[in-house]
């Protein structure tokens, strides 16, 4: 048997391209990591000194007065982002499923296009909208209005990422499920979603991170306060507004607290990220789609 005339080596050019691309990709990672180190490093250095237990549990004080803290801002941010998540997750995931599973319907095409436009809306305008719709009608700045404004920021992100993740679930899975006689609604809820759940979670976490870091919508809706909010219908402090007010003040004690609050915010998001990914998401060693 003659030796088949198979190409036994990859051409030099293709090898060069491959190596080049590897280098470029590594360069991209380095470029992405550099500002990360700068920013996170800065936040850690400037904010680290300000953090202690008192910082997390005390109410704010005037500048240069010791013992000030961010307790009410922490609780306020938690509450408003929590409310926003409660509103935006069902709507966003629901719309995302619709875009993916009923993608041929006209409603889906129009709505998904409008959703994309919404992702580009400046959050300040969303805040203004809620100011007109909720604050002016209730004659009250409130944590409720703030939460609703944040949910408007989150919904488009969740809807987009949900639909993209679900679209990547292979059609064969759906077909197999239907072939087994499982009704469509169960297929969607059990088979499709659980396969695409990583993408879903990424999108939700991304939206939560975004909402927690938003300032502009809260300026016009939740205002701010130096005390704990005892009801949803009162001005409510938040970490980002505190960072904004303290960071642009002339007092170094307040500026340090602003960076400290930023550090707390990032650490909380990190913890949330880890917690969600470790439990509900794929396990750490991961399994790739093997189809």
């Amino acid at each position: 048997m003659t030796k088949a005339n198979l190409p036994t080596s990859i051409s030099l050019w293709r090898k060069i391209v491959d190596k080049l691309m590897t280098i470029l990709v590594v360069v991209a990672v380095v470029l992405a990591v550099i500002p990360l180190i700068f920013i996170l490093g800065d936040v850690f250095i400037r904010g680290g000194a300000a953090i202690n237990i008192g910082f997390l549990t005390h109410l704010p004080t005037a500048p240069n007065v010791a013992g000030g803290g961010i307790a009410n801002a922490l609780v306020g941010s938690f509450t408003m982002v929590g409310l926003a998540a409660l509103i935006s997750i069902p709507i966003g995931v629901g719309a995302g499923i619709f875009f993916s599973e009923w993608s041929t319907s006209q409603l889906s095409t129009v709505s998904s296009f409008m959703n994309d436009v919404l992702t580009g809306f400046p959050s300040m305008v969303l805040g203004l909208f809620i100011f007109i719709v909720i604050v002016l009608t209730t004659k009250q700045f409130s944590g409720f209005a703030g939460g609703v404004a944040l949910s408007l920021v989150m919904i488009p992100i969740i809807a987009r990422t949900t639909s993209e993740s679900l679209k990547l679930v292979p059609m064969t899975l759906r077909e197999a499920s239907m072939a087994l006689g499982i009704p469509r609604w169960k297929t969607v809820l059990r088979v499709v979603i659980s396969t695409g759940k990583n993408g879903l979670l990424t999108g939700i976490l991304l939206a939560v991170a975004r909402a927690t870091g938003e300032t502009a919508p809260l300026l016009l809706t939740a205002a701010t306060s130096e005390h704990f909010a005892t009801s949803l219908f009162q001005p409510t402090a938040s970490l980002t507004i505190l960072i904004y007010n303290y960071g642009t003040s002339p007092y170094s004690s307040w500026q340090a607290q602003a960076w400290g609050a930023a550090l707390v915010l990032i650490l909380i998001m990190l913890a949330l990220n880890l917690a969600v990914k470790l439990t509900i998401g794929r396990n750490l060693t991961g399994t790739r789609m093997e189809m």
Partner: protein, 309 residues
């Protein structure tokens, strides 16, 4: 039995369609509110508002063109710089780190942390740290060596389109890379294996098999990143210089639509407030047009394939 199954299907479809309708309704409500608020200004200034290039409030000469230019230019810089980097990061984590899943996961989480940084901090960091750094180590050298190109012809003071574009790029990297990462991970291994069995190199597998399969998902990531870039306010306002300008010089101060709203809305009243709201309406239209353009682009790219848009 059959009617019970169909009922479940119908209920689900109705609930989900309601969510989709809500989004349409939201956008319509936003557009209506914007139009109502802007109507006084639209009536007074007419189409000249859109194409005028001077903004002099106390003489009632208002033109939105410099701000439209600023939004488009900074978003373009952000995408041109941020998209390749984000894709690079996503490809690195998803393809190169296949055998080091833990490290890939950690790197991914660390990059995602950038998404958690509040935009105020980006603004403060931008004005305190990024501007002197960029001005002295990037912009000045570029100006000195390549100053004959119109892009780099102005003397850089740090507060300009270029810095704003860079900071936007940094802000959209976590969004695009996180979503792209998940998308690339969801591409079935069978695709890769098929390419390898044909004798492809690693890059060729990525380029010819994984990326095309994930095209729609990456497009979704791109849309999210673009949305963030177009709408971002606080960080951009701190570093862009806030002087309206239409110029090819990247080192000139500029002004974007959202920065104008952020700066002027609080102090405005009456007709001027209406003009600012009209700027919001224009931003809405710009975002709409960008999305139409992007969709057309995707349609052309995926024409003939089975990828659903």
């Amino acid at each position: 039995m059959q009617s019970r199954l169909l009922r479940g299907d119908t209920i689900l479809k109705i609930l989900l369609a309601a969510a989709a309708l809500f989004i349409i309704g939201l956008l319509v409500a936003l557009a209506v509110e914007l139009y109502l608020g802007a109507s006084a200004s639209i009536y007074k200034f007419g189409p000249a508002f859109l194409i005028g290039s001077k903004w002099v409030p106390n003489k009632d000469i208002l033109g939105a063109l410099p701000f439209i230019y600023g939004t488009l230019l900074t978003s373009a810089i952000a995408i041109i710089i941020g998209l390749p980097i984000s894709l690079g990061v996503a490809i690195f984590i998803s393809e190169k780190l296949k055998s080091h899943q833990t490290f890939g996961y950690l790197l991914g989480t660390v990059v995602d942390l950038l998404a958690a940084v509040p935009s105020v901090i980006y603004g403060l960091w931008g004005i305190l740290i990024l501007i002197p750094l960029l001005r002295d180590y990037v912009e000045m050298p570029l100006h000195n060596s390549l100053g004959f190109i119109p892009l780099f012809s102005g003397t850089p003071y740090g507060f300009n389109f270029f810095t704003a574009g860079i900071i936007l790029a940094i802000m959209i990297i976590p969004t695009i890379s996180a979503v792209s990462r998940d998308v690339l991970n969801a591409v079935p291994n069978s695709q890769r294996e098929a390419m390898y069995s044909l004798g492809a190199t690693e890059w060729e597998v990525t380029q010819k098999s994984v990326l095309p399969y994930a095209r729609s998902g990456i497009f979704g990531a791109f849309v999210l990143g673009l949305g963030r870039a177009v709408g971002e306010t606080m960080a951009v306002t701190m570093v862009i210089g806030n002087i309206p300008a239409i110029t090819a010089n990247l080192f000139s101060p500029g002004y974007t639509l959202s920065s104008l709203i952020a700066n002027e809305f609080g102090e405005s009243s009456g007709l001027y407030e209406s003009a600012i709201i009209e700027i919001g309406l224009i931003l809405f239209l710009v975002a709409l047009l960008i999305n139409v353009f992007a969709r057309l682009l995707l349609w052309r790219m995926t024409r003939g394939t089975q990828v659903k848009v």
